[in-house]
């Protein structure tokens, strides 16, 4: 049995990391909820956000965490033409066509990352990133706490947008029944475009945080896509606060799994949990059962 302090620190780190995971998964979740699209390029958008953070720091000298809104806007601006030219023409062709298009986008982006930034792994070097933060017996990296706080704030903002604004109302209507929403005067096309942009912006912000906490490279996206999918399924499709809860639970259980079974089992625990929830609580573990 490992030392109690180590155990608590590991779990605390897992939970904090889970918050960041939740932000990265949120983009996938709302796109899946509104557009019924498994965005296979989600991981690459994350990596793009990380590169954006890196170059933002290099060119402006401003801390990328302060520049997160700018990164979010950049990614959203990148997403809108992508949606207009690639996804919208396929809107009435079933989910596979859009999914495969996003897969093609993902391999193109990976290839472009290698051509433009080389295959080296990088990280956004900040001197505070390595600092430990100690509270009683618990020690966690400071960057985890900062990332967690930013993620939770971002998720709460998105939750407010979705639940309390006119756009959010249209978004929820389009997710529930696009045809009915269109009949009632909702501009479903624009809603989907903005939702996609919002999703990509969330992925980008999450990516910049991941880039500050870990190393990343052109092909890092795949692993984050799977982790994000696990969080989405845990929290329930398109459920914003559920995604946050899903991220926290996944983070905690992954760190517990790593602690008790060995580090290699971290991701295995995540995937097993993912499939179990898919099998027994397909609307997320928070769902009260289906109507």
């Amino acid at each position: 049995m490992p030392d109690i302090g180590v155990a608590l620190s590991t779990i605390a780190s897992g939970v904090l990391l889970g918050g960041i995971l939740a932000l990265t998964a949120l983009g996938l979740s709302i796109v899946l909820g509104v557009m019924r699209l498994v965005n296979l390029a989600h991981g690459e958008f994350l990596v793009l956000g990380a590169y954006a953070g890196l170059f933002f720091l290099q060119f402006t000298g401003v801390d990328p965490l302060l520049g997160l809104p700018v990164i979010a806007l950049l990614l959203a601006a990148f997403a809108i033409p992508l949606y207009r030219w690639l996804l919208q023409p396929l809107a009435d062709r079933g989910p596979e066509a859009q999914m495969m298009t996003m897969f093609a986008v993902s391999i193109i982006l990976q290839n472009l990352f290698v051509l433009a930034f080389s295959a080296d792994t990088r990280s956004i070097a900040r001197d505070y990133a390595a600092l430990p933060l100690t509270l009683g017996p618990i020690t966690v990296p400071l960057i985890y706490l900062i990332g967690f706080a930013i993620s939770v704030i971002a998720i709460l903002i998105v939750n407010w947008v979705v639940s309390s604004t006119a756009f959010g109302r249209d978004l929820r209507a389009s997710a529930a029944d696009a045809e009915a929403a269109a009949t009632m005067g909702v501009d479903v096309k624009s809603v989907r475009m903005l939702t996609f942009a919002l999703g990509v912006a969330c992925a980008g912000m999450g990516g910049a945080l991941i880039g500050a906490a870990f190393q990343f490279g052109p092909s890092s996206g795949g692993a984050y896509l799977l982790n994000s999918l696990a969080v989405v399924v845990l929290g329930g499709l398109g459920n914003v606060l559920g995604t946050l809860a899903g991220g926290l639970v996944l983070g905690a259980l992954q760190s517990l799994g790593g602690l008790t079974l060995g580090d290699g089992y971290r991701d295995l625990v995540g995937m097993a949990l993912f499939l179990a929830v898919l099998a027994f609580r397909p609307d997320g573990f928070l769902a009260r059962g289906r109507p």
């Binding site: 396929l90 999914m99 298009t101 093609a104 391999i107 290839n111 295995l268 995937m271 898919l278």
Partner: protein, 315 residues
């Protein structure tokens, strides 16, 4: 109608038999380069036929081909190394294992329709890969070597040919008999099909299990050719993605779709082999253009144009 379809089935079976018999003698004429390409095409053809059966006929869009390729590979290596079994028997057992895994996970994967199946197959492949990495019995991250010497290229080509032949026959059976009507009924409207006395779960399970058995067998042949397997490669997402893109490029749900898609993608890969740095990106752009402008794939494009030229007045 049924009589015509059955007659078509006889013709189709005859064509498959003749082509397979002709290809059997290919190693006598073709060089190693063409045998390598042919081997890869036959493996992918088997996988894509299975994928097409699931997606085109039963509406199950899978991203889990790698799961069954990897399973087949590990089962075959285990049986050959530990029990010294003859390879054909090992491959048959791998197919059984593939079907059994599909049956075991289907209650979870079929629980919700549509995208969840896709996401679930993706996760299943990842789960199996992580299991192989972590359990030392399965060789861990370094994988396993085949104890015996792998057979020579012509023998491997024949193996792949047999698998592709069996796959094509099975798909013909599904497409030309009453089974095809039932499959399509489930794809188009599960609830209506259930009302008519079809049991959607069983039908979907049959398609999923058959495709998985084929994939596992193909994975076993591929593993014997490699001589050594490791979880990152054999369970790699690349398998699932390749198969999906081949089937979509060829034309989902069309009988010739997988064959045309496989030839198209492999030929493209060979043509772009001289530009390794941009190879993947170019393939991606072609994929986007095809999805956008050829909704029913290359086969659909050709067939539609034929139809349009035959009846210009109605087009």
């Amino acid at each position: 109608m049924i009589g015509k379809a059955a007659a078509g089935g006889v013709v189709e079976t005859a064509v498959i038999l003749i082509v397979a018999a002709a290809l059997w003698f290919a190693p006598a004429f073709a060089g190693d380069y063409w045998l390598q390409i042919g081997f890869r095409a036959l493996i992918y053809l088997s996988l894509a036929e299975g994928w097409n059966l699931m997606a085109g006929s039963a509406g199950l869009v899978s991203l889990g081909a790698s799961c069954f390729v990897g399973l087949g590979a590990y089962v075959v290596f285990g049986l050959l190394n530990k029990l010294d079994m003859p390879p054909p028997l090992a491959l048959a057992l791998a197919a059984a294992a593939g079907g059994a895994l599909a049956a075991f996970v289907s209650p979870a994967l079929f629980r919700l329709r549509g995208l969840y199946f896709t996401v679930g197959t993706l996760a299943l492949a990842e789960l199996l890969r992580l299991t192989m990495i972590n359990v030392s019995l399965f060789g861990g991250a370094t994988g396993i070597f085949l104890a015996q010497d792998p057979p020579d290229l012509p023998a491997l080509f024949h193996c792949a040919l047999v698998v592709a032949f069996l796959a094509s026959l099975a798909i013909t059976f599904c497409a030309r008999t009453r089974a095809s009507v039932i499959l399509r009924a489930v794809r188009d409207d599960e609830d209506a099909a259930a009302q008519m006395g079809v049991r959607p779960f069983r039908v979907k399970l049959a398609a999923f299990a058959l495709a998985s058995a084929i994939s596992a067998m193909a994975g076993g042949v591929q593993a014997i050719k490699l001589g050594a397997i490791e979880p990152y490669g054999i369970f790699g997402l690349q398998w699932s993605i390749d198969v999906l893109s081949m089937a979509i490029i060829g034309g989902v749900g069309l009988r010739l779709g997988p064959l045309v898609g496989v030839i198209f993608v492999i030929a493209l890969g060979e043509l772009l082999a001289d530009y390794p740095e941009a190879h993947v990106a170019i393939a991606g752009v072609i994929l986007i253009v095809l999805i956008r402008f050829a909704p029913r794939g290359v086969v659909g494009l050709v067939a539609y144009q034929k139809l349009a030229s035959r009846r210009p007045a109605t087009a």
